[in-house]
């Protein structure tokens, strides 16, 4: 059986990024990067275009250094599946300012909508739970997204949400591909120098 959700990924992303304040955002390659871009480009967005499986670890390193600011990793189910071990690594430190939100449509949307593991009833939130994340949820409605946003902004403890979105390919909103530029503007927005 192929499982899919019904939430609109762009509406979910817009809600999470609403009134974002100091929020630092790392996006996984593919659609989550486009979703964040569609919600509005921002100096404190860090878009990955490759290194599949790395969104969670980039956000983890960021959360361990910018301890006073909330950090959101916004990624997809396929990207998270490739870096499942990162959940165990994060579980050793559990920075309270780190939130991982997986836009989970149960499919590899970028490559032709092949069914992913989460589309075959493998639930990502249970991996995060096993890795001692103090708060894990499977989110199926917009109230759940609002709860996640509140928790993220209050930095109440390491959080993981699998957000069940509809499997659809929306028009792409392409973020900048110049990684050095995106890195430098992010650091500049934090008051950090380049080399």
């Amino acid at each position: 059986m192929t499982m899919t959700g019904s939430l609109d990924r762009r509406a979910v992303t817009a809600k999470l990024l609403e009134d974002r304040g100091d929020l630092l955002v790392v996006t996984g390659l593919g659609s989550p990067s486009y979703d964040a871009m569609a919600a509005g480009d921002h100096d404190l967005n860090y878009y990955l275009w490759a290194a599949m499986g790395s969104a969670a670890t980039v956000g983890f390193g960021l959360a361990m250094t910018q301890r006073e600011k909330p950090v959101l990793v916004l990624t997809g189910d396929g990207e998270m599946l490739m870096g499942l071990g990162a959940l165990a690594s994060i579980g050793q430190k559990l920075p309270p300012n780190l939130t991982i939100a997986v836009l989970d449509n149960g499919h590899y949307g970028e490559t032709g909508m092949q069914t992913s593991h989460t589309g075959r009833d493998i639930e990502l939130a249970r991996f995060a739970e096993a890795a001692n994340f103090p708060w894990t949820r499977v989110v199926t409605d917009m109230d759940g997204v609002s709860d996640l946003r509140s928790r993220m902004q209050s930095q109440a403890g390491t959080s993981f949400a699998a957000i069940k979105i509809a499997a659809e390919n929306l028009p792409r909103a392409l973020p900048p591909r110049d990684g050095v530029h995106v890195k430098n503007r992010f650091r500049a927005a934090l008051g950090l120098s380049t080399i």
Binding site: L24, V26, Y46, L48, W49, A50, A51, M52, G53, S54, A55, A56, T57, V58, G59, F60, G61, L62, A63, M64, T65, Q66, G83, G85, A86, A88, S89, Q92, K93, G179, V180, V182, K183, F186, R187, L190, L192, T194, I195
Partner: protein, 178 residues
């Protein structure tokens, strides 16, 4: 029952962490290897350093990229087999240019008992070079501090990926008991 005395590390091992600290390294991330035991042990005791075990080496590239984005330096320690795990993720360093310092203890390199280590060990330096990583090799104990200092200087002053390969002859022959 008597306590087992702490194993005495060769002195080149003890030189590594102080050099990293002199470059303001705040994060030591690793998949462990015997050759890194001293640096890992000392980092775990040091309140000025976050030490972090990884499930697989490429996690360290992402983590250090994020730490640098947040303003702090780190180093990644691994065995040569882990270099193979890192290859695709090294694109993150190439495309965003952040300082990535890697210290790699070699297997399949000298007096190796386990031939299953040889394919990756023999390909390690070439694989790193293919992905644009600068490499240096230490085979004598007195070379280690010098090369780690040099690689750290070029990583942190140039936003480059730099790796020091620590030859298997430094670590010595692994004793296998039948």
């Amino acid at each position: 029952m008597t306590a087992v005395p702490a194993e005495e590390a060769p002195s080149w091992q003890d030189e590594i962490l102080p050099i990293l600290k002199s470059f303001d390294v705040r994060h030591l991330v690793y998949v462990p290897d015997a050759g890194h035991a001293s640096a890992i042990r000392e980092a775990e005791k040091d309140n000025g350093i976050t030490s972090l075990a990884l499930t697989t080496e490429e996690e360290g590239i992402g983590y250090l990229s994020g730490a640098w984005l947040g303003g702090e330096r780190g180093a990644l320690l691994m065995q040569s087999s882990g270099v193979g795990n890192c290859l695709n993720t090294l694109a993150l360093q190439t495309m965003t240019r952040f300082p990535l310092l890697m210290l790699v203890t070699m297997r399949g390199d000298w007096a190796e008992f386990n031939p299953w280590q040889n394919p990756m060990g023999q390909a390690t330096e070439a694989a790193l070079k293919l992905m644009g990583v600068r490499t240096w090799r230490a085979d004598q104990p007195e070379e280690v501090a010098h090369l780690v200092h040099g690689a750290a200087t070029m990583a942190f002053n140039g936003d480059e990926a730099c790796a020091v390969l620590l030859g298997q002859s430094l670590i010595g022959e692994k004793k296998w008991v039948k």
